[in-house]
């Protein structure tokens, strides 16, 4: 995964979740403090203070240049997103990261929220404030967050479409909310890894397509894998295996299942022998043309014996 953006309400445990994810994933956190110290080069303390206080100041040009602070912010975050690779994650807290990375295919955009009452109580406890003072602090922070994204990007932070997942911490601990985020990050990491490999070998990526099994056997096999808690993807990739003289694809092969944990493609065949022969040929070609790719055929007798053994239990 490239970049994990976390947009959080004040008192929502967003920073704690960012820290938890950082510890779990072993990656760095880029937050406002880091950005102000590192993104904009040499700046006077006055400029830093104004950037910290005013969203509008991001629309002004940095000293001696036509480029605005907003332009620099977008450029630096985009560079971070591009430099990050699967397995080398970066967590970006705030800064409108969800908007800047909206079109980045390997970003996970997370919103962390909680009810105003919960957040007020947390702030009151944490800073030893009375309830009213804490609520004023929460309201002010909410306004500033919304304003920052609205002024810089003309986007509404309350729009759920900006996020891949929203975590409500009213009744969830940091660990519980982070577990949901980690599951999504892991799934997206896997998707990214397959997409990159697919691109590298010139195969075709189908991961975004909805699962429509071609027959009952495939559905039953998926059920068996689920039963064994073996993660699977259905037809995530097509391997071109024959081209004509003009380079057009003449023959391709889309294995039915991919098991990420075992890095293996499985092709089910429960059909007549002549089709089995064609499938065997396709598997041979994939192995020749895409070295290192593990492909196995699940023959009809394998499948039936699996079902039979599961009935009796293996």
């Amino acid at each position: 995964m490239a970049i994990i953006t976390i947009s959080r309400q004040n008192g929502s445990l967003g920073d704690e979740i960012a820290q938890y994810l950082s510890d779990k994933l072993g990656c760095d956190i880029i937050d406002r403090e880091y950005a102000l110290s590192n993104f904009f080069g040499e700046q006077s303390s006055g400029s830093i203070e104004r950037l910290n206080e005013s969203a509008k100041f991001f629309l002004s040009s940095s000293s001696g240049s036509d480029i605005t602070y907003k332009d620099i912010l977008i450029k630096r975050i985009t560079e971070l997103a591009q430099d990050a690779t699967p397995g080398h994650d970066i967590i970006l807290v705030g800064l409108g990261g969800c908007v800047i990375c909206a079109n980045c295919p390997y970003a996970v955009n997370i919103r962390v929220c909680a009810s105003e009452d919960t957040r007020t109580n947390r702030i009151a406890r944490r800073f030893n404030l009375d309830y009213e003072s804490a609520r004023t602090s929460v309201e002010t922070a909410d306004r500033k967050h919304k304003r920052f994204v609205s002024v810089l990007f003309e986007k509404d932070l309350s729009n759920p479409e900006l996020f891949d997942i929203t975590l409500n911490t009213d009744n969830s601990s940091v660990e519980e909310a982070s577990a949901a985020a980690l599951a999504l990050i892991e799934a997206k990491n896997r998707r990214a890894k397959i997409a990159i490999e697919t691109k590298e070998v010139g195969a075709i990526d189908h991961q975004a397509e909805a699962i429509v099994f071609k027959n009952d056997t495939e559905a039953e096999f998926a059920h068996i894998l689920d039963m064994y808690e073996i993660e699977w993807l259905y037809e995530p990739k097509t391997f071109p295996i024959e081209y004509d003289a003009e380079g057009n694809i003449k023959m391709a092969f889309s294995p039915d299942f991919y098991l990420p944990k075992f890095d293996i493609y499985l092709e089910l065949t429960t059909m007549e022998q002549k089709y089995v022969t064609i499938k065997n040929k396709k598997v041979r070609k994939v192995r020749e043309m895409y070295p290192g790719t593990n492909v196995r055929i699940v023959y009809k007798k394998d499948f039936l014996s699996l079902v039979e053994r599961l009935k009796r239990f293996c």
Partner: protein, 182 residues
């Protein structure tokens, strides 16, 4: 003439006799003894097929072993032909930080083994190794590293030395190929 199989099953041929099994189990025990010297080892037998192999193998390993067993079953499910897998007997020994060796009778598709590995991984052992009496490499659907195995097999239906046909034949002292009597 043995009465173990009753009248419903007949043996086509003996594939591995008692002496062959005995020698191979001793070899596996020696390999494991060498590889795991100085480590805290927990040997986990998968019920019921590995019973005799588990018993003989554990006595061929010259290390301070802890022994446990794990069992599976399936609950019938109206939405599918295969039901739902569940653990009927979980392990009792604490395996956290220890070297675990899973002992199976036979690994065919590897699905059960993959499930086992995931289950045991969640208990955070230092390592998980696999030891199977029999392995059918042509039928393996999972890329699982089977570090120790007794013999490679093909598609035969085998019984004996823990393996059964409808719960019959486990207590045969050898491994045989079978066919049901008509």
């Amino acid at each position: 003439m043995s009465h173990i199989l009753g009248n419903s099953i007949e043996i086509s041929r003996i594939v591995f006799d008692e002496e062959t099994i005995r020698k191979r189990v001793i070899e596996l025990g020696q390999m494991i003894t060498k590889d795991f010297y100085g480590q805290e080892v927990v040997l986990i037998g998968v019920l019921k097929g590995s019973l005799y192999f588990f018993s003989d193998l554990s006595r061929s390993i010259d290390l301070p072993l802890k022994l446990d067993t794990i069992g599976f079953g399936s609950i019938p499910d109206t939405t599918s032909r295969t039901g739902v897998v569940r653990i009927t007997k979980d392990i009792d020994v604490d395996i956290t930080g220890k070297s675990v060796i899973i002992v199976e009778d036979v690994i065919r598709t590897g699905l059960t083994t993959a499930y086992l590995i995931s289950n045991i991984e969640s208990k955070k052992p230092a390592s998980i190794s696999l030891c199977s009496m029999l392995l059918n490499p042509d039928r393996l659907l999972m890329t699982i590293p089977v570090k120790y195995y007794g013999f490679e097999i093909t598609d035969q239906w085998l019984i004996g030395y823990g393996m059964d046909l409808d719960e019959v034949g486990r207590n045969l002292p050898y491994i045989a190929e079978t066919s049901r009597k008509q």
